[in-house]
């Protein structure tokens, strides 16, 4: 029988088997100076014990995690888009359009082993303020597996105020492309290291959704959602992030203002989502920098970001990681068979602007493969053409 979710016992066993082997190796030189645009590519064909080992090697290739996380609070934004009970056919979300729990557990485990003091798992599940653990359980994930993967693991649903007393304000350096700043759940400020743990997918609105687009979900729907009030944040999220897709309303007055409010409402461009969403994403990764980008492409889907886009299950067998989200996504785009230098009108950005170009424009990182050092499996060897399968 095919295993559809990692049982706690199997997960821990997997940790013990391969994490132990990997960790028993001679210590790698840690935190050595590496180019900011180094990206590691690993091949991994199943969500089994090998995930810990492959990810561990990749982190080594990036120079090790210890210098980044030792003694720190690490926040990990997961990719759990959509509803917990939606599947691509009969396949659970972890192997199609969510980051897989095995990759989450392996990351938590490796961060803890590298000395992270506290690890927070974050996501803003669609249309709900329920505890993140309950959302996970609904998808048949076992939150205890993550608690057992490190000494101090916490969960927070960041789709509303959550455990915070107030929202944290992040200004976009240089003034931003869509908004001058964003109000986010406190967990995105109360951390020393921010990790984006994404899935390798295309996206109906933004062309691709990788480590940068994953950060679109850090915006709380109490402020940026369809049902947000006009003046102040709502108490609970109502609806999704429709206003970013339709540009049909502005956030409450309490939130940082739009760069140009005139492009909203009746002046919104044709296909507003393809204009607004990439800009918001670029703003967000500029305002809330990603220290470690990880992309799960072991198994995934083509054609869009979730089953609602009409898609196909594929197994590229890839993991990608880097300390710069633009460079990491550029490698991801290349591995998907696209040109990371492509822009609006060219695949995968046929109907939208390139988030990579916009983020590059904001100085977040480079998308030019010539300036990115790819370590591990070469792109040419690992490429999995999403439009040809």
């Amino acid at each position: 029988m095919m295993k559809t979710a990692c049982s706690r016992r199997k997960f821990i066993a997997a940790m013990g088997a391969t994490a132990g082997a990997w960790l028993a190796r001679p210590a790698m030189p840690l935190a050595r100076a590496v180019p900011a645009s180094r990206v590691a590519v690993g091949t991994c064909h199943e969500y089994g014990p090998e995930v810990v080992g492959v990810l561990g090697n990749m982190f080594d290739q990036l120079g090790g995690l210890e210098g980044l996380v030792r003694g720190k609070t690490v926040a990990i934004k997961l990719n759990m888009t959509g509803l917990a009970n939606t599947r691509l056919g009969y396949l659970p979300p972890g192997i199609t359009y969510w980051v897989h729990p095995q990759v989450v557990g392996a990351t938590v485990h490796l961060l803890a082993k590298a000395g992270a003091r506290r690890i927070r798992l974050l996501e803003s599940p669609w249309v709900t303020a329920e505890p993140l653990e309950e959302f996970m359980l609904h998808a048949n994930w076992e939150p205890r597996d993550f608690l057992n993967a490190a000494a101090r693991v916490e969960f927070e649903n960041t789709n509303y105020l959550g455990n915070g007393k107030k929202y944290s304000r992040f200004w976009v350096p240089g003034g931003g492309l869509m908004f001058k700043g964003y109000d986010l759940n406190h967990s995105y400020e109360d951390c020393d290291v921010f990790v984006s743990l994404a899935k390798l997918k295309e996206h109906m609105t933004a062309g691709v959704t990788l480590s940068m687009k994953n950060c679109f979900g850090i915006t709380p729907c109490t402020i940026y959602g369809d049902g947000a009030p006009e003046d102040e944040p709502g108490l609970v999220p109502l609806g999704g992030r429709g206003p970013f897709h339709a540009m049909n309303r502005l956030p409450p007055k309490s939130a940082p203002p739009a760069v140009n409010a005139n492009v909203f409402l009746s002046n919104a461009p044709k296909n507003p989502g393809g204009y607004c969403v990439p800009r918001v994403v670029a703003d967000l990764v500029a305002a809330r920098p990603v220290h470690l980008a990880i992309i799960d492409g072991i198994h995934t889907m083509t054609g869009g970001e979730g089953p609602w886009t009409g898609s196909r299950y594929v197994q590229p067998g890839l993991l990608i990681a880097g300390t710069n989200c633009v460079a990491t996504d550029a490698v991801g785009v290349a591995l998907m068979g696209f040109n990371p230098m492509a822009d609006r009108g060219t695949p995968p950005f046929e109907t939208c602007d390139s988030t990579l170009r916009l983020a590059e424009q904001l100085g977040v990182g480079t998308r030019d493969l010539n300036q990115i050092e790819v370590v591990g499996t070469p792109i040419a060897k690992a490429r999995f053409n999403f439009r040809s399968v």
């Binding site: 559809t4 049982s7 599947r87 009969y90 659970p92 505890p131 509303y160």
Partner: protein, 496 residues
């Protein structure tokens, strides 16, 4: 003669009373009149040959001048029906005492009468009482009783935009179902049989027939029976031998026959780790009923405890008790509830009745509850009165935790399910219903037990298929084939 719980009832409108009623409502035309007359003829009973339908509900007395003509006109039908083994129940709707009408019914060979109010009278014929929902109880209900105020099951037509179902605040399409009420009635009037009285929507006609199979399944899956009621177009089509009408009728009969062939499931008990306690009366009725409706819609499997009953006899499997009413528990119930909590249970209520020295701690910020740790368990106390039934249902599911789910549906669309278990706890049944007219594709049923296979029963086929499970710790996933109306998964084992 006694009421027979095995009767499969069907409304059989015909004769002078029905024609008079239609005349009054100006809904009659020549074709309809012809059909109503035809259905009063013995030959109309040919339709029932080979079907499980064995009990016809006919209008008997309405206090109208046509009463006598009706009773006279039905005599040949009743005589012919008896030859075919069909029982007749005469519906008596009189403002004055029904004694004479009942006596006439007995003389004519009725097996029973259906009355809105027996008022303590005794008759020579058994009576099926028609009760308002809020008056159902063990004392008021006859061995077989019926209720009105029921919904035609399916997507709520008021929330449809063309063929598209509009989601409500719960992000799920709004669905009408009588399932929760069947469960409630089963608890309020234990051992008695509920007949649900409801008619097809006005939009139902031969070209776009109502979802009759769903009306049957939504009743049977939850332990009641629908009084089969056909729309005029279908009945007219059947009178004329229309092939499309025969097709609709054939499917309906097949659905009834399916449930008749699985009558052993009627003894299965609803499963649930949550007990909902209320008297479901008066001011408590709306909240109690809606919470049941919404918990069911969220696939939360529950048991019902009528508030006046002792909690001592509660199921050993219970993990949580939701006390809905404003009224505090009796001294005995208070003691039982605290015992339950001390032993590790969870009680959810709008007021705290635990030991005064226990100080509360806040729950997750998304939940407006204070938690009191008492012994091994907890009391979750709402920060205000219970008001919104949807919020109570959502909060209850989260407080009990999805960790304790017995079943889950993935890609549920407009499907729902009901889990029950045989008295010996050797067989478990999960019945899945699709409330949409569109087939539900790629639905996965998750059950909280590690089970390798299940028997899959469908209305369309006589024999069961074996469905393999996929391990999905701590339970198992079962991918369902495209689901038009209904399927049931039957599990066997010691770990159910």
């Amino acid at each position: 003669m006694n009421l027979d719980s095995k009767w499969v009832p069907m409304k059989w409108p015909c004769g002078p009373l029905e024609i008079a009623r239609r005349n009054k409502s100006q809904s009659i035309n020549a074709d309809l009149k012809e059909m109503l007359e035809a259905w009063g003829q013995p030959s109309a009973l040919e339709l029932l040959k080979g079907t499980p339908i064995n009990c016809l509900i006919v209008d008997w007395a309405n206090g109208k001048p046509e009463d006598s003509a009706q009773q006279q006109a039905l005599k040949p039908l009743l005589d012919a029906g008896r030859q075919l083994g069909i029982s007749f129940v005469g519906k008596v709707a009189l403002k004055e005492g029904p004694g004479a009408a009942v006596a006439a019914g007995r003389a004519a060979g009725l097996s029973a009468v259906m009355l809105a109010d027996a008022s303590g009278q005794s008759f020579d014929l058994p009576a099926i009482l028609q009760l308002e929902r809020e008056k159902v109880s063990g004392e008021t209900a006859s061995t077989i009783f019926s209720t009105k105020e029921n919904a035609w099951p399916g997507l709520n037509l008021d929330t449809m935009n063309g063929d598209t179902a509009m989601a409500g605040p719960t992000a799920s399409p709004w669905v009408n179902s009588n399932g929760w009420f069947s469960l409630l009635a089963g608890k309020l009037a234990p051992g008695k049989t509920l007949w649900l009285d409801f008619d097809p929507p006005d939009s139902s006609n031969l070209l776009h027939p109502a979802n009759y199979g769903l009306a049957i399944a939504d009743s049977r899956a939850y332990g009641s029976r629908w009084i089969i009621s056909l729309d005029d177009g279908l009945r007219a089509g059947l009178t004329k031998g229309n092939s499309q009408a025969k097709g609709v009728w054939g499917k309906l009969c097949k659905a009834v026959a399916f449930f008749q062939s699985h009558s052993e499931w009627e003894a299965f008990e609803p499963q649930g780790i949550l007990a909902v306690v209320s008297d479901f009366r008066g001011d408590n009725a709306y909240l109690g009923e809606e919470v049941l409706n919404l918990l069911n819609r969220k696939q939360v499997q529950f048991q019902i405890i009528e508030r006046s009953k002792s909690l001592q006899a509660r199921s050993q499997d219970l993990k949580a008790i939701l006390w809905l009413d404003k009224e505090a528990p009796s001294a005995e119930q208070h003691s039982q509830l605290l015992d339950f909590v001390r032993q590790g249970g969870l009680v959810i209520a709008a007021a705290y009745w635990g030991p005064p020295e226990v100080k509360p701690t806040p729950k997750d910020p998304s939940l407006q509850y204070m938690m009191y740790n008492v012994g091994e368990g907890q009391m979750a106390v709402s920060e205000g009165e219970f008001q919104s039934p949807d919020q109570v249902a959502v909060d209850t599911h989260l407080l009990v935790s999805r960790r304790n789910d017995l079943v889950r549906l993935y890609n549920p669309e407009s499907t729902n399910c009901h889990s029950s278990i045989d008295p010996g706890h050797k067989k478990r049944l999960v019945q899945v219903l699709n409330y949409s007219l569109k087939p539900a594709d790629s639905v996965t049923l998750w059950v909280n037990a590690q089970i390798g296979s299940a028997r899959l029963w469908r209305l369309e086929t006589k024999d069961a298929l074996t469905l393999r499970g996929v391990a999905a710790a701590p339970g198992s996933d079962f991918g369902l084939p495209p689901l038009s109306i209904y399927c049931a998964l039957e599990f066997e084992g010691s770990n159910l």
